[in-house]
Amino acid sequence: MAISLATKAATDSLEINRAPVSVGAQEVHKWLQSFTWDFDKNRTKYSTKYKMANDTKEQFKLIAKEYARMESVKDERQFGSLQDVLTRVDAANRVHPKWNESMKVISNFLEVGEYNAIAATGMLWDSATAPEQKNGYLGQVLDEIRHTNQCGYINYYFAKQGQDAAGHNDARRTRAIGPLWKGMKRVFSDGFISGDAVECSINLQLVGEACFTNPLIVAVTEWASANGDEMTPTVFLSIETDELRHMANGYQTVVSIANDEAASKYLNTDLNNAFWTQQKYFTPVLGMMFEYGSHFKVEPWVKTWNRWVYEDWGGIWIGRLGKYGVESPASLRDAKKDAYWAHHDLFMIAYALWPTGFFRLTLPTAEEAEWYEANYPGWYDMYGKVYEEWRARGCEDPNSGFLPLQWFIENNHPIYIDRVSQVPFCPSYSKGASTLRVLEFNGKKHSFSDQWGERMWLSEPERYECQNIFEQYEGRELSEVIAEGHGVRSDGFTLIAQPHTSKDGRLWTLDDIKKIGCVFADPLKSL
């Protein structure tokens, strides 16, 4: 170092600033974009047909420590409420039993989505080239760990304090038995992490988060609180505060590829596929959880859906991306039809298969039937009548020897599973748009319930090879399958799943199921 420079440095140190100063997060963040460097192998490990731009910025400008501070403040508030006042007022025992059951599924399945989003955003952190864009995804990686833990906390809390711990206490082991699990994995697990990185971002951020997060996380808090549950709003609204950043990440993904030629070729197809993938499961399942999993009703699902999915997302959000060439998905119209009847169809099948759940289901009461008919004219003739028949045959009573699944068999209404979405459907008894399509490939039959999924399968059958539950369980007796999947309570014989939530009703056991002698068959085999 030259003398003059040393002298200057020494002089500088006499002129130093003595005001108490610190360094803010944004002052550090503004250098972030320069943290990377070019080298030969600097490319992502996950192929994508799109090219993400090197100069993509992010909006939220967090650094690691500021992120932690912000989240920790929210945690204090949230866990403080749960552990203090909500526990003192015994809030977990002031939740309607039907809703106690719904939260077994909602919280655990959302946990899977949150968990897989960790890996998904890990992949995007790898795929992005701009340090700011990486940083946005990184923040989300950490958020999704947070949300995973938070969802777990709901089940943990209900198990420890609530009225029926079974299912809350072992959802991670018993969730795989029933008909809702594989479809959930498609949208919440594999759809986020397996594919072109940008396609995964579209699934996770542009559709999963920007479109279905509102109904899922916000609407659920309204249904929860109407039914006495204040734990779920406490946790889910805290989750929601992170979601804005995630939607912004999705937006930035599109911005980062907007100038790439591939975007004009593929983006709208990927978006359409992602939208259909997500809606195919969420539309019926959320509607079913809200309407059939509650006692007190907030509003008909079809209204919620139209407001948030069709108008807010399909109109406003997608409209905002219009300048990047993004169009409203072609499958939105078909989805809109699904939003009316699909959840009613699905509940019927889910109830028919109730013993495979890790929660108790309840048939609609007379006053609920009125509500359904008022909001979905035609409901009674299609569903209400059948439920009356099931109830008359003793479907809630372990001595009846009657499982509603038998009704489907007796009336020759086979239940199939859509290969691509893994969602069950009954083409001969549904009001939704499901139609049966069967294709053969490599000596194996595949059933589909709609043209969009069928198209995805036709172009890439190797991505959708997963066995469905009927193929897996074929030839096996129902009580055996339940026992193997640990679907029993701590006494070793009473089922976790039950066909009612009546406090006076009797609980079914493995023996009650066994004596019915229900054996699984693969409906594709008899075609």
């Binding site: 130093i16 108490p20 100063v21 890990g122 697990s189």
Partner: protein, 392 residues
Amino acid sequence: MSIVVSGGKRGLTDPKIAAVILAAIPDQPLETQRKMNYFMTPRGKRINEYETLCCYTQPTPDWIPGGLDWGDWTQKFHGGRPSWSNESTEMHSSDWHKHRDPAFRWHALYVKDKAEEWRYTDRFLKAYSADGHVRSIDPIWRDEVLGDYLGAFGFSEYGLFNSHSSATRDCLGDTLRMSIAMIGLDKVDNAQMIQAERTFLAKLVPSFNESTDVPKKEWTEGSIYKGARETVEEIWQGTYDWNEILFSGHMIYDPLFGQFVRREFFLRLSAYYGDNLTPFFINQMQLYHSQTKGITKDMFHTCLAVDENFGDYNVSLMNMWSDKWLPRTVNALKDFMGIFAKIPTIAGVTDKAAVEAALGRVFEDWKRDYADPIGYKVDTAALIKTVLSGLK
């Protein structure tokens, strides 16, 4: 009463709704087993909150060892590659869900610690600046060493940080995934702390250049970090096996190169140059290093090395990986020796004997904590000699 609830009425507080709910609730709880995840094997005597909230969150099929789920993935990569698969690593495990962060930190505990560190950093910096403490720093140390070479070291931390992205995506267990993301965040935190210190210095000292241009030039074109840069590039982007990424970064490169640069260079020497600021930041990095060490030693030593079925195989693989990554790391240290020619010499502190002693501490620690547990034979004296050959 009507089942339609409007106007945001809440079941907990609206007396009519509450009465309906209470009437429906069973008189006795239906289940006596209230412990969530009661079926799992805890690391300690009983299942702790971290294990309750993290373990088995991943839907792993049973053909990935340790999984509770069954069947295939419902959607795969183009061409049919599975979402997660045993082929993503050469390591074998009987249970990929076995790892635990020894500190049992789930997200809330992790961010609470870091938030405290941030708040304290803010208070410390205000007191430090008001105290005029910066006057005591040797100007060459301040402008060249902190300005350029500490700045350049930030790129090493940033590159290592990025090596965690694919490991976060590809690893096969839930506790693993959470640990990997957290130790990754600590690395970018280190890089950001380095920039925070430089930005802070620029606020206090008018001539101090906070720009990353010079440090980046040093990192990408200079000789002092050449070996380090090449190694980091290979860990970050040249390596696909997620266990090898973690092993090379956290079991070889960082405990040797990272520890020497942080602890034996910046932390040890700063006091001699009147610098009490850098230790404040480096000590946080050292805390993260020790937490990360706990995590990665649990992954490789506590779980994989003693795996009931694959322990011997895993240990031999770790030995092979050590053979591969140790020479590069030694070379990185050798290049780094060039830095001693850039600073004013202090006898007994920056001379060859002192550097040798410092290297001795680092290599002995590494041998004891990383090499010995996998039976890796290493001649530390010879390695130190190689490193010292870089001293000008």
